[in-house]
Amino acid sequence: MRDPDIILSLAGIAKSFGDKAALSHVDLDVRRGEVHVICGENGAGKSTLMNILAGIHQPNAGSIVLNGKTVTIADPIAASRLGIGMVHQHFTLVPSMTVAENLFLGRQPRRLGIFSDRRQMIERARELIARYNFHLDPEAPVRTLSVGQRQRVEILKALAFDADLLILDEPTAVLTPPEVDELIGVVDGLRARGRTILFITHKLREVKAVSDRVTVIRHGRSISTRDTADVTEADIARDMVGREVFLVGRKGNAQRSFGAPVLTLDSVSMTNHAGRRLLDRISLQVRAGEVLGIAGVDGNGQTELAEAIAGLMPVQAGKIRFGDRDLTDADLNERQQAGLGFVPEDRLDRGLSVTMSVAENVAATNYSRAGLLSGGLINRQKLDGFAGEKIKEFDVRGAQPATQAGWLSGGNMQKLVIARELERDPSLLLICQPTRGLDIGASEFVHARILQAADRGRAVLLISSELSEIFALSDRIGVMYSGRMMRVLDRAEADEETVGYLMNGGSKEAA
């Protein structure tokens, strides 16, 4: 039974918060020196499990065997003493301090017991960075680093404690595609040095790219553990969702005919207060029945493009036309009348008011259109009825009309925003980062809705930094870089290589 190769073994782990069971029964064996992916939908219990290993939560039942000994992990300090290092999804770095200072925060080398020894600290940081080949400047302030670099500082921080077992909690959630590739390289390097890594994710591509074995968790139970080489993405998806998953997509070869242009941008430019060009002479057209996907690394003008089309940020030059109407200076309200449906990129920022009810959120743009007013007052019964209909139609789980929107999970919030915007059957659907942070089931649903709208002859402008999404849904693909539209490609001539090349500004070097 005792296998010396097993570094960590969990048996029957359960954890509930109040009367809600986050984990009901999890078994897990992790072999020394492997990269083991824990995979599951949002809310399956991945984070709870990791927090138990990191000593943040205590399990209600089950045993943890580490290096052949049964242990209790009382708190995070105990975890690091046991050789478990955790890299959280949200960084825990001090932006104003240097890399070295962050690495040794709270345990600086001392001289005479009191003075901190900066030189020794920097020297040791340099050694650590060199040992793992991380290309970081120990004296650079963390605020000057990119997200990917910050993550490497986090990983180093965990390794500085000589962690045998490194836990990475959704490490790719904050990374751009090139940074994801770099991280996968980093993980490979750590494995080569004999570290054991637990890697949490819900993205199927990463599972295949990074892991030796994969354990799927669903509804707080461990469903399966398999060698990654033996499974397909579809197998993992089925285990995660508990049923067959249909990954929808535009059937690339089908001959489609598109209608007249619904949205036309003619050399649109936008400058911020500091005089920096945010959008640089963007021209594009979206035709009825077409999905135009806009790819690009986050922060290359996609947000501003969406805000310009929605009328939330003024443009300094160029024309924005809906059909034949010039709406360059119209406000959002007028554009809605003209047929715009707008799903903002961040549901918490612009998409919803989390303290208002589900009903009020879904009705926000639809009061008069959906006939929710009678005699100038909101008719409560009609409002609740309308919200109930939308909840059912869009399968918003855990929602009643009176539920606070903020109590829903991310995927259900997103469905709410989409339900609201599709209610008007807009002739132009501007939809940004539609599946960010969503699990497979919810993504599948959202994608199907987008394609449905296009099939009904609506124009769809899809802005996403998730390349697989762009490729799956678009009829044409535009690539943005540094506020410019590098090119708009037909789906047939667009492959990952070309698009990736354009995303980096047309240079061969990864950003």
Binding site: A310, L312, D331, L332, N333, Q336, F342, P344, D349, R350, G351, L352, S353, V354, T355, M356, E360, A363, A364, T365, Y367, S368, L373, G376, L377, I378, R380, Q404, G406, W407, R420
Partner: protein, 343 residues
């Protein structure tokens, strides 16, 4: 239909009610430790308001400005503006009504009375509009502007009371009386109570309808809870915030107008025992709910007046009320924090 509405209502008032009862219980222990007649003291604190029609009238008169100011605070807070300028808006309304009433004394009452009331409302509205615009257009912090406006208005009104409209035959800084033809009639059956209370009670219901049953109200609350969400759904968010502040100031101004016409019959320098702040507390205790604000304003009025009766009949000082208030706020915030953590 009725049953869920009722249970919903009970759910809303359960927490404040529990906090009030707990406060009173703790307060009783305190009173018992300083006086030999704790029951008598507590009876006076809570019930002396209802001993006579006169006491009852004073209680309603006290509750009227508190309710109106609290309603104003509800509008501004729902729009996301932390408006602490109730006191200034109140004084602006009171003094404007007085000036208009004195200056227009020759006009017939049917013209002068509405004119004076509207003038008071508008004066408060202007004082509410200023911080609203500054906040929306220039992102100036509203706590600073409303607090500073309080001081400015207090000084201007006391200058007016001392120098311009002062009743030279009276003692103290008070204005001339307003014409008795435009005094508000008393409440039916309660001779010395102002009918302004009816106005306040009706406006509490109207405010609830406006905020929770109109699209305008939904838009104000959308702007107040998430301005960027409101913009993205096509709401003219800045305009909604400003109009909510105009109404907030107007309601506090109306409180001043009705006080002058219904109770004081003249402008008195320092006529308000911090109605602005107490009204704010009432609104917060009611969780920024209009109907709840009417209830908390009545409770506060009962406590404020009851404390005076208690001090007269026993040796418990009236400042006990301040202590109870502090305790109540503490308990309410403790509850809110627990609720927030649970969510």
């Amino acid at each position: 239909m009725m049953a869920p509405a009722l249970s919903n209502f009970l759910r809303v008032i359960r927490a404040p009610l529990a906090a009030i009862l707990l406060t009173l219980a703790l307060g009783f222990l305190l009173v018992a430790s300083i006086t030999d007649e704790p029951v008598r003291a507590y009876r006076d604190l809570l019930l002396a308001n209802f001993d006579s029609l006169g006491n009852f009238a004073l209680f309603l008169n006290r509750a009227t400005p508190l309710t109106l100011i609290a309603l104003g605070v509800v509008f501004s807070f729902r729009a996301g503006i932390f408006n602490v300028g109730g006191e200034g808006q109140l004084y602006a309304g009171a003094v404007t009504t007085t000036v208009v009433a004195i200056a227009g004394a020759s006009l017939p009452a049917v013209v002068l009375m509405p004119l004076a009331i509207v003038a008071g409302f508008l004066a408060g509205a202007v004082i509410g509009w200023i911080p609203g615009v500054l906040k929306v257009r220039l992102a100036v912090d509203e706590v600073v502007t409303t607090l500073m406006l309080n001081i400015i208005i207090l000084l201007i009104t006391s200058w007016l009371a001392n120098q311009v409209i002062r009743d030279t035959t009276a003692y103290g800084a008070v204005s001339w009386m307003v014409p008795s033809s435009i005094w508000l009639p008393p409440l039916p059956f309660v001779p010395r109570a102002t009918s302004g209370f009816l106005v306040a009670a009706v406006l509490a219901v109207v405010s609830w309808v406006v905020l929770f049953r109109t699209q305008w109200g939904a838009e104000v609350r959308a702007a107040g809870t998430n301005l960027r969400f409101a913009e993205a759904t096509g709401v003219p968010a800045a305009r909604r915030v400003i109009s909510a502040m105009v109404i907030a100031g107007g309601l506090a101004g109306l409180a001043g107008a009705l006080y002058v016409l219904g109770v004081g019959h003249r402008f008195e320098q320092n006529f308000s025992p911090s109605y602005g702040l107490v009204g704010l507390t009432c609104a917060l205790l009611a969780r920024v709910h209009p109907i709840g604000s009417l209830a908390t304003a009545l409770f506060y009025a009962a406590m404020l007046n009851g404390a005076a009766y208690m001090q007269i009949s026993t040796d418990v000082p009236r400042s006990l009320v301040n202590l109870l208030t502090g305790l109540l706020v503490l308990l309410m915030t403790a509850r809110l924090r627990r609720a927030a953590q649970a969510a």
